[in-house]
């Protein structure tokens, strides 16, 4: 006999809605037969009202005060039947004490966003100023799982084989020069996939795409009258919702599908997707900031507060998320699991990750439970976890970040050393040797591997590569803070003139220095990361902190691809070279090298003899391995001369059945890359002033 199940039928009618007690998990909204299950946590709240809206209507469709007997522990949950999934929007009102000195900021007048909201309305189009008179700015909506992934899954490329390309969704294609149809959007990146493939990168790292408010702290530049935005978006409103204003289809509410389409198409092209995620603070700011969600749900749980109830500010942005509280830790874990499973995301880069290792009073933990949970999570087990291993509160953990064998790090020391060596600073040769081989001084002692080190010379924070070789000082006037914002420790050199110049000698030197930087980066062990546009000389006109600029200063100028085509082709050849040479991607510090040569050795102008003294500006490295399938030796020799005079380098001896081939010579402005590389029979080479040469070996034909 077929009995109709009754366990999904409504049990009550409240405020005209048919309802029944809900399931406390999962948090947020989920589909159950015939209805939607709503679940929200508040430990100190005294009552909870579900507020329902119709999408196009300002006033609520109805409000359901969730009965006390629907609460289990600290979780209110309710199933509501007969709602139109496409049309319904929702929020919560939580009652409770308003006593900031005790950490409580409840206000039942406010409608609060669901912290687990997967789609938001209210910021559908980028840069359209919202109606500030509305109390409920970000309305939670229901997301669907009906996207056709066509068999896609995360790519799981080995860490050591990645070449990461960091980009800002809007900046990448917003310029007219991008030539794409959907400028400044996820769909715009999709249109540029053939370009990324041609360049040869196999991972993109997207600056924040969780819903943020570009109008947060927005202001008008006092001198220029231009509007300044929260452009980069390092301030999360909703951890589960993709930014609608980055979607060409955002005004149709289809940002989820557009973003998934981007991921699917990138995967088809062999490119992984890494998200830059910001869990250290939220968009709610400090005492003066808006109450969007967490503040009104359970302020004391979600934020680190001083004993007087003020917000700790380890992030430099107003508040600090209380990440090692078990409830918040689960939110972070749920969030990452959701992006990994629902969006097929391949990895995450954690902004100011050291904050995630602080206890609720701000002290660094030796064994931070959040970092451990993430490292051993079954769903995240093949996701890349990358830490920005410092915070704005003075914790600097490059090399000591609690890694649990899983975490890799943005290696800030690689950046600083490579920059100093590049401009010819004294006393850099020794440290440069550490950086080139994957920073064993930082990562070998604790059993980690070279790919723990994300090597980079430039990133969104600081100068672009073209600016690094064109400016001695930052020029941040456009940010409206009298050039006081942004770092001063740029280790940059303008090559003889500050900023734009028509001096052809200086211009050529800048191109060469850019090539030198990329040459070192692509021949170092570890995982290289390049900043969007650096491959063709993108400039921000000396601005080293363009976090608030939505203008051509930030946007990639694609016309440079043609005018700097030699740099582009050089970079493309270098990336391809890295992919061809397993010896550059060895991911063990105890690797034995090839049959006749060590894995990584250092040389000076004379093989096997490095001048380690402070005034030395020459360093060469030779990396080797035997190829797994053929047993043929793979070897790359890189000679760098950062002195202002040319220097002769004798080449190291190699077995007689191999010969050298010269692949790159940045000192040769006409042909800095050679394809096919000519066989090189001399015993040495004159490396030009401030130049890099790169050789490979090839078996002699018998």
């Amino acid at each position: 006999m077929d009995l109709e199940r009754i366990d999904n039928l409504p049990t009550d009618t409240l405020s005209g809605f048919r309802v029944r007690p809900g399931k406390p998990l999962p948090f947020g909204v989920s589909s159950v037969p015939g209805g939607l299950n709503f679940s929200v946590y508040t430990s100190a709240g005294t009552s909870c009202t579900l507020v329902l809206f119709s999408r196009s209507e300002e006033a609520p469709l109805g409000e359901i005060r969730i009965p006390d007997h629907y609460r289990i522990g600290d979780v209110y949950s309710i199933v509501v039947y007969d709602l139109d999934y496409e049309d319904v929007e929702y929020g919560f009102r939580i009652d409770g004490p308003f006593s900031p000195e005790e950490g409580h900021r409840f206000n039942p007048e406010n409608v609060l966003m669901d912290p687990y909201a997967r789609v938001l309305s209210g910021r559908e189009e980028w840069g359209v100023e919202p109606d500030w008179s509305k109390q409920y700015q970000y309305r939670s909506r229901v997301a669907f799982d009906d996207f056709d992934w066509e068999g896609d899954s995360p790519l799981e490329i080995n860490d050591a084989d990645l070449v990461i390309y960091e980009m800002h969704v809007r900046s990448f294609t917003k310029s007219e020069t991008s030539g794409v149809k959907f400028k400044g959007t996820y769909a715009g990146i999709t249109e540029k996939i053939p370009y990324l493939q041609e360049l040869g990168v196999n991972a993109v790292e997207l600056m924040p795409v969780f819903e943020f408010d570009e109008f947060e702290n927005s202001r008008i530049h006092p001198d220029t009258g231009e509007r300044l935005f929260n452009y980069w978006g390092y301030s999360t409103v909703a951890f589960f919702a993709p930014k609608a204003g980055f979607a060409a289809s955002g005004k149709f509410g289809m940002q989820v599908d557009e973003f998934k389409q981007l991921v699917k198409e990138l995967h088809k092209a062999g490119i992984e997707v890494i998200l830059d995620v910001v869990f250290n603070h939220t968009a709610e700011g400090n005492e003066r900031g808006p109450s969007i969600s967490f503040k009104g749900l359970d302020n004391k749980i979600y934020y680190m507060l001083t004993p007087e109830g003020y917000y700790f500010n380890f992030s430099g942005t107003g508040n600090t998320l209380n990440c090692n509280n078990p409830v918040v830790r689960n939110l972070v874990l749920d969030c990452l699991r959701y992006w990994a499973s629902e969006y097929h995301i391949d990895g995450f880069r954690f902004d100011l990750a050291s904050i995630l290792g602080r206890d609720p009073w701000g002290a660094p933990l030796s064994n931070p439970p959040l970092l451990e949970s993430l490292a051993f999570d079954p769903i995240l087990s093949s996701c890349k976890l990358i830490a920005e291993a410092w915070d704005a509160g003075g914790l600097y953990q490059v090399g000591t970040f609690p890694a649990f064998g899983r975490w890799s790090e943005w290696n800030g020391k690689y950046r600083d050393t490579a920059r100093k060596y590049l401009k010819g600073d004294e006393g850099q040769v020794g440290e440069m040797a550490q950086r080139v081989q994957g920073s064993p001084d930082l990562y070998q002692w604790n059993g980690r591997s070279p790919a723990t080190s994300i090597n980079f010379i430039t990133c969104h924070d600081g100068f672009t590569l073209a600016d690094l070789v064109s400016f001695n000082h930052k020029h941040n006037e456009a940010n409206g803070e009298n050039n006081c914002d942004g770092g001063d420790d740029n280790h940059s050199w303008n090559c003889g003139a500050e900023g734009w110049t028509d001096d052809i000698g200086i211009r050529n030197l800048r191109t060469k220095q850019s090539m030198n930087a990329l040459s070192m980066l692509m021949t170092s062990r570890g995982t290289p990361m390049v900043l969007m546009g650096d491959e063709f000389g993108r400039s921000q006109h000396g601005n080293n902190n363009a976090y608030c600029i939505d203008s051509p200063i930030s946007w990639v100028d694609w016309s440079l691809l043609e005018s700097n085509s030699i740099l582009y082709k050089f970079t493309q050849a270098l990336i391809s070279f890295r992919h061809q040479h397993p010896c550059l991607r060895v991911n063990r510090f105890d690797h034995g090298g090839s049959k006749s040569l060590p894995s990584c050795s250092f040389h000076g102008t004379t093989p096997w003899q490095v001048n380690w003294s402070a005034d030395s500006r020459q360093l060469a490295w030779l990396m080797t391995c035997d190829q797994e399938d053929s047993g043929i030796m793979d070897a790359v020799y890189v000679a760098t001369n950062m002195a202002h005079y040319a220097t002769w380098f004798d080449l190291p001896e190699i077995p007689s059945d191999y010969s050298w081939q010269l692949c790159f010579n940045t000192g040769d402005s006409q042909s800095p890359y050679l394809n096919p590389p000519p066989t090189f029979n001399d015993h040495g080479i004159l490396v030009g002033e401030r130049s890099v040469v790169i050789f490979q070996v090839s078996p002699r034909e018998t």
Binding site: S56, D87, T190, S249, M254, E258, K264
Partner: protein
């Protein structure tokens, strides 16, 4: 703008001729017309969108719903969809579920 839907039965296909906008309010009508068909046995479905200016996300989901109910070997044609509708379908990844044609002659 109101939506009218005319259903015609062909030999192996069904054609839905839509006129008006498929927005949040009218999408349920499209969905109910679709669910009334025997989708799980339908070889070919044609949606004539020549008289439609706007299809909301709810409307697109109704179309995806129909395709997922139909047999794997079946085809779903969108006829004469406006450029904007085609663009939305393309950038949100729904394009591979449907066949986009300009007129019924192309089928």
């Amino acid at each position: 703008m109101a939506l009218t839907i005319e259903v015609t039965q062909g030999d192996i296909h069904v054609t839905l001729t839509l006129s008006g906008d498929v927005d949040t309010k009218t999408a349920p009508e499209l969905l109910s017309k679709l669910t009334a068909l025997e989708l799980n046995a339908l070889e070919q479905l044609r949606l004539d969108l020549q008289q439609v200016e706007f299809v909301s996300s709810a409307g697109l989901r109704a179309i995806v719903f129909a395709k997922q109910k139909m047999p794997h070997t079946s085809s779903l044609y969108l006829i004469g969809a406006s450029e904007q509708i085609v663009e939305t379908i393309t950038k949100t990844g729904l394009a591979q579920a449907v066949v986009i044609v300009e007129s019924v002659e192309e089928i």
